[in-house]
């Protein structure tokens, strides 16, 4: 049995409204957003504690406190508070920070990515997405594209062992997207993101017994063939509102730090610079994050990595650009 499935099943124990609750600290000065957060947190298994200043946050974190929700309304607030927040986060390593960014400012995103710990960036307007993330943080059950789809949504999975399988897969996805929504721009974005995720799974993810990268040095025009026990699992599906695709490799070689460092570097400047010396490391991830509406990375170091990309079928690209694109990184704890 696939190890990843075992982890997922072990963590997905039956839970109900009476399960032991965790505590979440909330620093949200906007009343409407705070009320929304309270509903989501309670539903996800957290009791909420609101703090009115950042200073006592560090004193309030303990082993029951798992999550901090921090709402950034504008650049002025961020510039005033970000240094203090950095200090607090670095003193509370067990706490998962969810940044709710009202506007998708590049500077704020770059700063968040440079913060200690993993960045969990959300749009406060995307309530469903935030609930899923909170629930994942609470339960530890982090893997799988189905969490982002409604009950009954159909998904399809391909098991890939050869990098040449990428092109027919992308043709299939393009056809699926066009039949689903008839939108060329979305089809192009879905194709590009799928391309990046599959290439990453074949060229960057595989490591040998000494955890050395096996194919990262190769020109991408080479063909990589993986063993039957090293299959890359590519899944996709839709509920008519979002299209979700996920790419899982059985190596678990990428770290959260690598992801935020690579992405952060691209956000530092208005335009990403191509580094030919490093083979453009991180460029694929940057393109994928820019093209998808949301990006999720589920990590189980040494065991598997799963990238999930979501595409919103209901809003135009114009509307999408006004919103913060979620970037969520989750790490299995055992």
């Amino acid at each position: 049995m696939n190890t990843t499935h075992m982890i997922t099943q072990r963590r997905a124990k039956a839970q109900g409204p009476d399960e032991p609750r965790s505590r979440a600290l909330v620093y949200i000065r906007n009343n409407k957003i705070r009320r929304m957060a309270q509903r989501l947190l309670f539903s996800a298994g957290f009791d909420m504690e609101t703090v009115s200043t950042l200073v006592p946050l560090a004193e309030k974190t303990d082993e029951r406190c798992r999550v901090l929700l921090y709402f950034v309304e504008d650049m002025a607030q961020w510039e005033k508070e970000s240094a203090l927040l950095d200090q607090i986060i670095s003193r509370s390593p067990g706490v998962m920070v969810f940044y709710l960014l009202m506007t998708p400012d590049r500077k704020v995103i770059a700063d968040v990515l440079a913060n200690p710990g993993f960045a969990n960036i959300h749009s406060p307007l995307d309530v469903e997405d935030l609930f899923i993330s909170l629930r994942k943080a609470f339960s530890g059950d982090i893997f799988g594209v189905e969490k982002y789809l409604s009950w009954g949504s159909l998904t399809k999975t391909h098991l890939l062992t050869n990098s040449r399988q990428k092109d027919p897969l992308i043709d299939e996805l393009r056809d699926f997207t066009m039949r689903l929504c008839g939108n060329n721009h979305i089809a192009e974005r879905v194709s590009t993101v799928s391309d990046e995720l599959v290439m990453n799974a074949f060229f960057n993810a595989p490591v040998d017994a000494n955890r050395e990268h096996r194919y990262r040095h190769l020109d991408r025009s080479n063909t990589v063939t993986l063993g039957p026990e090293e299959q890359v699992e590519f899944s996709y599906g839709s509920n008519g509102r979002v299209l979700v695709l996920g790419c899982r490799d059985p190596f678990g070689s990428i770290t959260g730090e690598t992801i935020v460092n690579q992405l952060g570097r691209c956000f530092m400047t208005p335009l990403a610079e191509i580094s030919h010396e490093t083979g453009g490391a991180g460029l694929g991830l940057y393109i994928a994050y820019n093209y998808a509406a949301k990006m999720v990375v589920n990590l189980h170091p040494g065991t598997c990595t799963e990238f999930i990309a979501l595409f919103d079928l209901e809003i135009s690209l114009r509307e999408l650009q006004l919103r913060t694109r979620s970037l969520n990184i989750f790490e299995a704890t055992s």
């Binding site: 391309d195 020109d219 335009l271 191509i274 940057y286 393109i287 820019n290």
Partner: protein, 163 residues
Amino acid sequence: MAPFSWSKDAEGEAITYLLSGRVDESSDFEPLLRELKDEVIFDLAGIERINSSGVLRWGRFIREVSQRVQDLRFVRCSPVIVSQLNMIKDFSGKAAIESFYAPYVCEECGAESTALLDVTKDREQLETRRVPSRRCDECGHDMVLNSLEDSYLGFLDQEPGEA
């Protein structure tokens, strides 16, 4: 989707090269590079997709082209190309962008279309970060650019890079 290919249209003083398909790890620019000299126009309407391996290959190619030719122009840039121009530094090398496709969306009915904009003819509007008005073929309402103006038209502020 078709792999990268190109053809030549030799009308006029400068030679126009029509580039099409997907730019990726399989794209070979060498045969095209050997052809290029003096004044070159790339018609980029047919470029449908570019992945990160393609961006690296394109980056190397365009640096070589910028050194080799005297005059380089991009015409009919597809939205895929515009996206890269707005995302990747020096994606156009020393090229001057003459025209590009802009995606429109009807906020009333959701219909989408594209229109070719000319950097010279439409300069007045583009300089103030606006696009020419357009009516929806399906419902007749006004359409808007299907992207934030500052974001989609941002590449117009870039100076052509030195080779």
